[in-house]
């Protein structure tokens, strides 16, 4: 019977609609005969389950084994400078479990003990400083929930519909509650008198790993809402997410969320490092490229139904759900279309949108078993409306690689399966 608990995985992988049809028939058959799961006393109702000493730090139950990070081998030359994907198709709410939250490294996930950790602040500061991890825990703390979206999320979809699943098209994202010290507090500790006029100054931040991932951040942002974080979702950062300390840069592209952060330098100019020249610059149709495209614009995706989460229950009540987010502030509205954008209904936000954080939306609807072309369209508090891919291509062409926040279309077929498509 355990197979019955995994309809989404089965349907994702099967080649035909036979299984879904069989499932429906089985349910119908059971309606006329007493259900042995009720009429027969089950093992779990008679004997013991696990003791409280069975798992000091627990993992999800085995039946959820498909809710895992996945990678796409052909995307990169090596797994140590690569990406994997959050299983957003199977999650709900907004908080991403850390254990399946996506990873992006440029020279692997390093192991850095708190005892070995050092954070340096130098450059145009009054006193260059070195902090230990223990020092950081003595500064006043803040808590904030923010999304971290890779600049390349949905990047493989610029030229067409390519990967078949929300995990692969939109899963370079996670959303966590961070605890840390504001970067402003640490810069103030080092003193910014020496920097003079702050409006044209920068901070250059780099990690302790071999790639270093150095990025330049304008001082305005550094003093606004950037966090030097050491906890996520209540516990220490995971190794692969920057243990013991990472930068949190609300609303801005994930590359700037420097992990294993070891140094913050106040500079007169941007360093124009590799990660802000060769990479994370966006080439336009005429061959010129945008640099310093820091903010992630308003975006959304329907997570279910979707190619990895097909409809297995037949026609009738259907929950269409998904995620919306914006680097410009709070999500104020999400519209959903079931006919490829001809008509739209405004969905229900599970909670009012929070600034630079994932927002869950629901459209409680009826499915009559016919084809649907489902889309979602996010709006943020600046009035920005998530564009179509056609609109984006008109401005940028197809070679930007990064910052693809287009409206996604899933084709729902009469058998309940879903496919990643583009529509006219």
């Amino acid at each position: 019977m355990s197979d019955m608990l995994k309809p989404s995985r089965r349907a994702f992988l099967r080649g035909s609609a036979a299984a879904a049809a069989g499932l429906t028939a089985a349910g119908a058959a059971r309606a006329n005969v007493p259900d042995p799961l009720i009429t027969e006393v089950q093992d779990w109702a008679m004997s013991f389950g696990d003791g409280v000493d069975a798992s000091p730090y627990g993992l999800p139950i085995q039946y959820e084994s498909d809710v895992v990070r996945r990678n796409v081998e052909w995307l990169t030359a090596d797994t140590t400078s690569s990406i994997n994907f959050t299983p957003i198709h199977a999650l709900d709410g907004t908080i991403t479990p850390q254990g399946c939250a996506f990873e992006r490294h440029h020279s692997g996930a390093i192991e850095l003990r708190k005892e070995d950790y050092r954070l340096m602040i130098n450059g145009l500061v009054d006193t260059p400083l070195v902090f230990s991890y223990a020092d950081l825990e003595r500064f006043p703390r803040e808590n904030h929930v923010y999304f971290c979206e890779c600049a390349a999320n949905t990047g493989m979809e610029w030229a067409g519909a390519q990967l078949n699943g929300a995990q692969f098209t939109h899963g370079m994202i996670h959303n966590m509650e961070y605890t840390g010290v504001s970067l402003r507090t640490l810069l103030t500790e080092a003193g910014l008198e020496a920097a003079g006029d702050l409006s044209d100054k920068w901070v250059y931040v780099e990690g302790a790993d071999a790639s270093s991932n150095g990025r330049s951040i304008p001082m305005d942002k550094a003093l606004d809402d950037v966090l030097v974080a050491f906890k996520a979702n209540g516990e220490a950062l995971r190794k692969e997410h920057g243990y013991p300390v990472r930068l949190v840069v609300p609303g801005w592209e994930g590359n700037m969320w420097v992990k294993w952060i070891r140094r913050i330098e106040v500079t007169a100019n941007a360093v124009e490092s590799r990660e802000e020249t060769s990479k994370y610059t966006d080439t336009l149709e005429d061959g010129t490229s945008r640099k310093w495209t820091w903010v992630m614009d308003a975006k959304s995706v329907i997570t279910s139904p979707s190619p990895q989460a097909p409809i297995t229950h037949g026609s009738g009540p259907l929950v269409i759900t998904g995620l919306a987010w914006s680097g410009h502030g709070a999500i104020t509205r999400v519209d959903v279309s079931k006919d490829g954008g001809k008509t739209w209904e405004t969905a229900r936000l599970a909670k009012p949108g929070e600034k630079m954080a994932l927002t869950r939306f629901y459209l409680d609807t009826e499915w009559n078993g016919e084809d649907m072309l489902i889309q979602s369209r996010a709006m943020d508090e600046t009035g920005y409306v998530q564009p179509t891919k056609h609109q984006l291509r008109e401005v940028r062409g197809e070679n930007s690689i990064y910052h693809n926040n287009c409206i996604q279309t899933w084709h729902i077929m009469p058998n309940g399966e879903a496919e990643n498509v583009e529509v006219s």
């Binding site: 995985r9 089965r10 994702f12 992988l13 099967r14 036979a18 299984a19 069989g22 089985a26 058959a29 059971r30 005969v33 498909d66 796409v72 081998e73 090596d78 140590t80 020279s107 340096m120 130098n122 070195v130 902090f131 003595r138 519909a161 390519q162 692969f168 103030t188 500790e189 003193g191 071999a210 790639s211 150095g214 330098e265 360093v271 590799r274 020249t277 060769s278 080439t283 149709e285 061959g287 010129t288 490229s289 310093w292 614009d297 190619p307 519209d335 490829g340 954008g341 001809k342 739209w344 709006m379 009035g383 920005y384 409306v385 564009p387 609109q391 070679n399 990643n420 498509v421 006219s424």
Partner: protein, 214 residues
């Protein structure tokens, strides 16, 4: 503590410590150490430490990055972005090679090694002659071809002004056609073990109703 800050936490960073970690190099040459290296020496170093991934001529092997070539391709359907065709500043090449290469064995090159390797990358891109010697003194004389190829993020003018409008809710299109399908490409990873398990599940689902039919 440092004694100067609000909380007195941390300690003063020593000059040796700053020198060890602050090695970034900016486009104006800030951070560049004294040193030099020739194309000739660079060719040898590149062949030993870099060519296995980047090719003998910096042309790239397999999926590994190409460091040379691609001139004039940035407006093509498939632009080839290399140091020669795309990178704006030579400082970035020096900085990145020095701090993060070779891949898996970073921070093992001397300053002179880095000058030589960067000189060889310039040569591979036909930007200098084979007798060229790069040093901290002539570094800023080298201008990369795509130095003027970048604009600062202009989305506020080119996109936000257009897309901050009340969107259409009804009769937004006359017709809708599917123009592209992901399953045609069929490049999404499948899982072998899961596929086998799914096949079992499918059998079970198909036979169950038969077994339970009254």
């Amino acid at each position: 503590g440092a004694g100067e800050g609000k909380f007195g936490l941390g300690r003063v960073a020593l000059p040796e410590e700053i020198a060890a970690w602050d090695v970034d190099v900016s486009p104006d040459g800030t951070g560049l150490p004294v040193g030099s290296g020739s194309v000739e020496d660079g060719e040898m170093l590149f062949s030993e430490g870099c060519a296995v991934c980047h090719g003998e001529f910096a042309e790239g092997v397999g999926n590994w990055p190409k460091l040379a070539g691609g001139e004039g391709t940035l407006a093509n359907d498939d632009p080839v972005k290399t140091v020669g065709s795309y990178w704006p500043h030579l400082s970035t090449a020096w900085d990145y090679v020095n701090r993060s290469m070779p891949y898996g064995n970073a921070q093992t090159l001397s300053d002179d090694d880095v000058y030589a390797i960067v000189a060889y990358i310039l040569y591979s891109n036909f930007l200098v002659e084979d007798d060229f010697v790069l040093s901290n003194e002539n570094f800023l004389e080298v201008e990369l071809p795509n130095a003027d190829g970048f604009i600062i993020d202009d989305r506020a003018e080119t996109e936000y002004t257009i897309w901050r409008t009340e969107p259409c809710m009804e009769n937004c299109k006359d017709s809708v056609e599917i123009t592209m399908r992901a399953t045609v490409l069929d490049v999404t990873p499948q899982e072998e073990a899961a596929a086998a398990q799914a096949a079992v599940a499918q059998t079970a689902a198909v036979t169950e109703p038969v077994a339970e039919a009254p």
